[in-house]
């Protein structure tokens, strides 16, 4: 027929579809909700999965080995690379010196932890650490001497720190610990956002961490994040007989592939420390999380399949009830093609709206989650990233429409208009 009957307008395929969908408000709404929930489940999962993998991989990139106190190797990686778990303990500074002298080691970066500010960890390290994560300075300069601090982008924003400010760390890695008021830090620099763990850290020379705890005596207040370098602390026996200085862990880069075969074994058997491979532990972590993610993903797929089926059934039903109307349209002069377009537009309208609503729901939900939950913020979730799965889901929505529309369209195409109208 003429283009006029096909394109837009109140009674074109689009307008007619809207009229019919409005007529079946309840069924249409429920159907949209079902589809949107399924899509939101999958999209949300894909978003979290994508960002978590990216985040986990970025943080560990380039670190071949982590040396720290004996304990769970996964805990060692989590605490010293991801800054997510409590440390396993401390190792003597001599371990760092030994590693630095070792020809198999290209670089050894110390990290010393134990205090925090506003829930952000204060990490004693060297300038190698921010350099490793390619953290650039947004303002000021890098820390140089004890009690100078260069803070990550998130820390600066959330604790409202500026260059020149001073602050006191609190003991322990969670807020609420005893405040080290005598030994305040001075902010000398603020880092640009990196999308890595560095954003959420306060960086300072290792000496600062020692200095803070030299002023203090033995507060074994129940935190097992003991990093403390108290000379007179008798409980540091786990790391040997009162070593002069300690660090929490050492991040190691190999000088040659040969190191992978020799260094971990040598450290684990010949020293009191343990060596853990981030790559190995990351795989272990992902396989632990993976089972859960897979189950969740399966549920999401099930939801989408269910809602796709629901859309299919609803659309087939609606069009079945409408076979008289479609036949009437034919009798009023509409071609078979016009009827098929009508059905296709209606299917696309339902599944397209459902899919887009689902994507909005997923991203909005994660935005809300990130807003309400500090954990999600720690994780650095950014809800406004479009992940490839989003596009896949849009494709899926169109596919659902195509499948759901196909049967009714074929039926309508083949309908014996005369018989349908006569049977009425």
């Amino acid at each position: 027929m003429s283009g006029r009957t096909v394109i837009g307008g109140g009674l074109g395929p689009f307008g007619l579809s809207l009229a019919y969908l409005r007529q079946n408000r309840l069924a249409t709404g429920l159907n949209l909700l079902l589809l949107a929930l399924g899509v939101a489940a999958i999209a949300g999962l894909a978003l979290i999965d994508n960002q978590m993998q990216g985040r986990l991989t970025r943080d560990v990139a380039g670190i071949d080995l982590v040396v720290g106190a004996k304990g769970s190797p996964l805990q060692l990686i989590l605490s010293s690379v991801y800054q997510a778990d409590v440390p396993t303990g401390n190792v003597p500074l001599s371990t760092l010196d030994d590693l630095r002298r070792n020809p198999l080691v290209k670089q050894a970066i110390p990290v010393a932890m134990g205090d925090s500010y506003h829930g952000f960890r204060i990490v004693g390290t060297t300038a190698d650490y921010p350099a490793h994560y390619q953290a650039a300075l947004a303002q000021g300069r890098m820390f140089a001497t004890a009690m100078e601090a260069t803070v990550g982008a998130t820390v600066a924003r959330s604790a409202n720190l500026h260059v020149g400010d001073s602050f006191a760390g609190s003991h322990g890695l969670t807020p609420g610990g005893e405040v080290h008021a005598h030994t305040p830090y001075t902010v000398v620099g603020i880092l640009a956002p990196t999308g890595t763990v560095v954003d959420r850290l306060v960086l300072t020379p290792v000496e600062s961490v020692w200095a803070v705890h030299d002023h203090h005596h033995h507060h074994n207040d129940g935190d097992d994040d003991d990093h403390d370098a108290d000379h007179d602390a008798p409980h540091s026996a786990e790391a040997g007989a009162q070593p002069p200085r300690e660090v929490t862990a050492i991040l190691v880069r190999y000088a040659s592939p040969l190191a992978a075969a020799r260094l971990p074994r040598a450290i684990n058997s010949e020293t009191g420390a343990q060596a853990a491979s981030p790559a190995v532990e990351l795989v272990r972590l992902m396989s632990l999380l993976g089972a859960g993610l897979d189950a969740f993903r399966a549920v999401g797929v099930l939801l989408v399949v269910t809602s796709a089926l629901g859309t299919f059934v609803a659309l087939t039903n609606a069009l079945q009830q409408r076979r008289y109307d479609l036949a009437v349209m034919r009798s009023l002069g509409a071609s078979r093609a016009r009827i098929v377009i009508q059905i296709g537009v209606e299917a696309l309208l339902v599944s397209g709206t459902g899919t887009v609503a689902g994507l909005v729901l997923a991203h909005g939900g994660i935005a809300l989650f990130a807003l309400l939950s500090p954990r999600a913020r720690d994780f650095g979730l950014s809800p406004f990233t479009v992940v490839p799965a989003d596009l896949g889901l849009l494709g899926l929505g169109i596919a659902v429409a195509a499948v759901a529309a196909a049967l009714p369209a074929i039926q309508a195409y083949r309908t014996d208009v005369a018989r349908t109208l006569a049977r009425g």
Partner: protein, 223 residues
Amino acid sequence: MSPPSPLIHLRALRHRVAGRLVLDLPDWRVEDGEHGLLLGPSGSGKTTLLQIIAGLLSPTSGQVIVAGQDMTSLSEGVRDTVRGACVGLVFQQLHLVNALTLADNLRLAQRLAGYPLDDDRVAHLLARIGLASRAEARPQQLSQGERQRLAIARAVVNRPALVLADEPTSALDDGNCQRLLDLMLEQAAENGATLLIATHDARLKARLPARLTLAASVLEVVA
């Protein structure tokens, strides 16, 4: 000059459904400007014949000429177009579109036939059938008589040359029956259309010319 051609001309029309002969008609014509009545009991093939004339159904054999066009020689797509432009249909079950307002039901007929929307025409017809104030109502909110009138308005909205109506009065009481027939005849006259009504309603026989009883004898052939 040739004599005026008939608006409907059926030639040796036969139709079978699943091998069973349901229509076998002699030559039959309705002249332009005249009205016809198809009479016969239920199941005698009246609806089938209307559908064949409307081009919704192809007969097994014979010719159906409507407004000079041999419907049996046209493709389905062209028949759709011809029907949209030249034929108005009033179905026994009305088949109004409940998702649309009364006004949109009429506009849909304009649109699907490929005519430009003509809101004046829609308003005029709604006023004529006494439903002007309810243009935005839905068909299911109407009484049976009102729905019947809307169906007639939809059939004539595009000013077709031929209006086919299938048992338009069977559900109506005598008063409504007469008013509806008045409306149909008036609209036919206003638009210069030919009416062809299939019915077993004896009340209509009194109002339409006798020559249309031909249908009764035709249908006897079927029986």
